[in-house]
Amino acid sequence: MKNLRKWAFLALTTTALISCNNDDDSMGNENEGTHVSAVLKFEHSLGLGDEFTLTDSEDNQQNLELTKFKFIVSDVKVTTTNDEVVALSNNDAAELIDLANADETDVVRMYLTGIPEGSYKSISFGVGVSQEVASGSTENQIKLMELAEQDSEDMVWSWNPNSYIFSKIEATNLDVTTTAPTNLQIHVGNKGGVDGFRTVELIFPETLTIASKISPSIHTNVSIEKLFTPDAPGIEVAYDAIGAHGGTDDASINFSDNYANIFEIEHLHPNEAAINLEDVEMDNHAHDDEDSEDSHSH
């Protein structure tokens, strides 16, 4: 009897869902599955376990080994060549970019769906979660909260008004002789009146066409060291100026500002074959990097 009820429920649920489903999937996708409109490929300058050198506040060079680098992406928007801005829902497009999930070339892919067909000139996204979003509609935070809660709430400050940790960078100090502060640990959020949320805008080097028959990718370099040594006019931040070692608000602000400085589009792969989200989720991040020269356009 109980089983019968269960099946009846399932059957009716299915019926209800089918009859209620207002099919909005008008992206011209003839195949079953969710067409990937574009792929944002983040190629990091460092992988986990890589060594790098930063300058501390006493001008000493510190040798470090990267152990964690991750950030939340939210509020993705693309702009058409006609200056129309298309905002993607955070329940679709928000993502946690975690270097721990990178492939052997330190690339982490982010799959964008539901972008209307057309010609686009730029993309923007937030690093972290804006206060507006965090204190706004809870329904629009379903995916963001799931991302933040991965790995035992690794991107959650439960005791902070804005629950989201926007980004983390951690590294082990390899310089055993130093008397300076030891390991690198910088976590950014909106805490104590210092809001580390920043928006990044990337202009495409050429027009990006979104169409059902292709899933173009946007190959973007992520220069992790530039968080500390940004290009002008960014302000340099000593690696021990914030975080565990009692920093200043100014250093935190400068460091957050530098997030906008670390992303740079390398090139587009405008004509890559169409893929479905369900397929890439199945072999999650197991892709080979198909950086074939013929698909480049610098």
Binding site: T138, I142, E146, S152, S158, N160, G243
Partner: protein
């Protein structure tokens, strides 16, 4: 048979594409009612309206051990209805780990729909995500949200309830879990104490002379901070409660306000919000013993002795002691606290007794469902 009826209603809801149906499967209805003498609500009714079925789901979650590690305890472990949803006489409370206690006294769950922020240090500004703290804190429930969600998804009853309440397929997720808890807690309004009936001129609201004297004294001596009908100005102040040597990591509001998530206790001690705590509501105060953020005073009379400062326990004067607790006598000498005679304390205590809301404490809608 009852189960069949419930299931049938859910099916109806599903088939009719999730429009609000009659809640025929309950013997009561929840609708948020604004007490005449209360301030405006802060609860976000637009984002998460309180419905009867949402309330029932939230209540089920509130009383469900699966929200904690190894299914050890539920929210109700430290929030007992008989004590206005505090932890019956505990200063601090054990979580899921035997012998490991938290650092703060369990606070009442009442009138949360009117509060600006939550917990003793104001860590949260929305009722919505407050439960993230107790669920994930190691000294409390020490569970991950991912695990809670996975456990609930194994339960077909929860699948049906979440789908019915949030009207979507696969509705068990962190946001909906928190929203259901919010609906339950948001609906928990305590507004029918003898005091309320007195100010509203209702039956059962006649004060004795002593209670009237206590009210007048309270307004004169206590209501600067315990103000309004919630009996709190919702400020964070250093009230002179000294450091607790057994809780050396306690910094009060400083930890929340510091921009540095890794700030040390020594660094936080230099802030002017060090050891500031929320001015608590005094509703049901007789039932919510012990008192202060760490529950160090068992008796309410001790709290008055503390503020009086004539006898032990004494006020500790840190640099940021709230200025309302520093006065100057006629000789130009500094006096800490709030001078009260023993007779005045008796009257004030008599008044505080009138803040007990037995209807709230015995309201079966808030009790553990059968």
């Amino acid at each position: 048979m009852k189960y069949n009826t419930i299931l049938f209603v859910f099916l109806l809801v599903m088939v009719s594409c999730g429009q609000d149906e009659e809640e025929v499967y309950t013997d009561f209805e929840i609708s948020f009612e604004q007490p005449a003498n209360f301030p405006a609500t802060t609860y976000d009714f637009e984002d998460n309206p309180i419905t009867t079925d949402g309330f029932i789901l939230g209540r089920k979650l509130f009383y469900d051990n699966r929200l904690s590690l190894n299914n050890g305890i539920s929210c109700a472990e430290c929030h007992n209805q008989s004590h206005a949803f505090t932890h019956h006489g505990h200063d601090l409370s054990e979580g899921v780990h035997a012998g490991v206690v938290g650092t703060r006294n369990s606070q009442p769950i009442q009138n949360l729909a009117f509060l600006e922020d939550f917990t003793w240090d104001g860590a949260k500004e929305m009722l919505f995500d407050q439960p993230l703290i107790p669920i994930t804190e190691e000294v409390e429930m020490d569970e991950t949200m991912e695990n809670v969600i996975a456990k609930l998804k194994e339960d077909s009853v929860y699948q049906e309830l979440f789908t019915a309440v949030f009207q979507s397929e696969d509705a068990i997720n962190s946001v909906n879990l928190l929203n259901a808890l919010s609906q339950f807690m948001g609906a928990m309004v305590s507004s029918n104490s003898k005091y309320d009936k007195y100010v509203r001129g209702e039956v059962g609201g006649s004060f004795t002379d002593l209670e009237k004297e206590g009210l007048a004294l309270f307004q004169q001596k206590c209501a600067n901070c315990h103000s309004g009908e919630l009996f709190t100005n919702q400020e964070f102040i250093n009230n002179g409660i000294g450091e607790n040597s057994s809780l050396p990591d306690e910094t009060g509001r400083a930890r929340i306000n510091s921009p540095n998530p890794f700030a040390t206790v020594e660094e936080l001690k230099t802030r002017d919000d060090y050891y500031q705590f929320r001015v608590p509501s005094l509703r049901n105060v007789i039932k919510t013993y012990p008192y202060m953020h760490d529950g160090r005073f068992v008796m309410l009379s001790k709290v008055l002795d503390f503020y009086d400062d004539d006898t032990y326990p004494l006020i500790t004067k840190m640099d940021n002691l709230d200025s309302r607790l520093i006065q100057t006598n006629s000789n130009g000498e500094e006096i800490l606290g709030i001078p009260m005679t023993e007779g005045e304390k008796v009257a004030i205590l008599a008044f505080l007794e009138t803040l007990t809301d037995n209807e709230f404490i015995n309201d079966e809608r808030f009790a553990k469902p059968n």
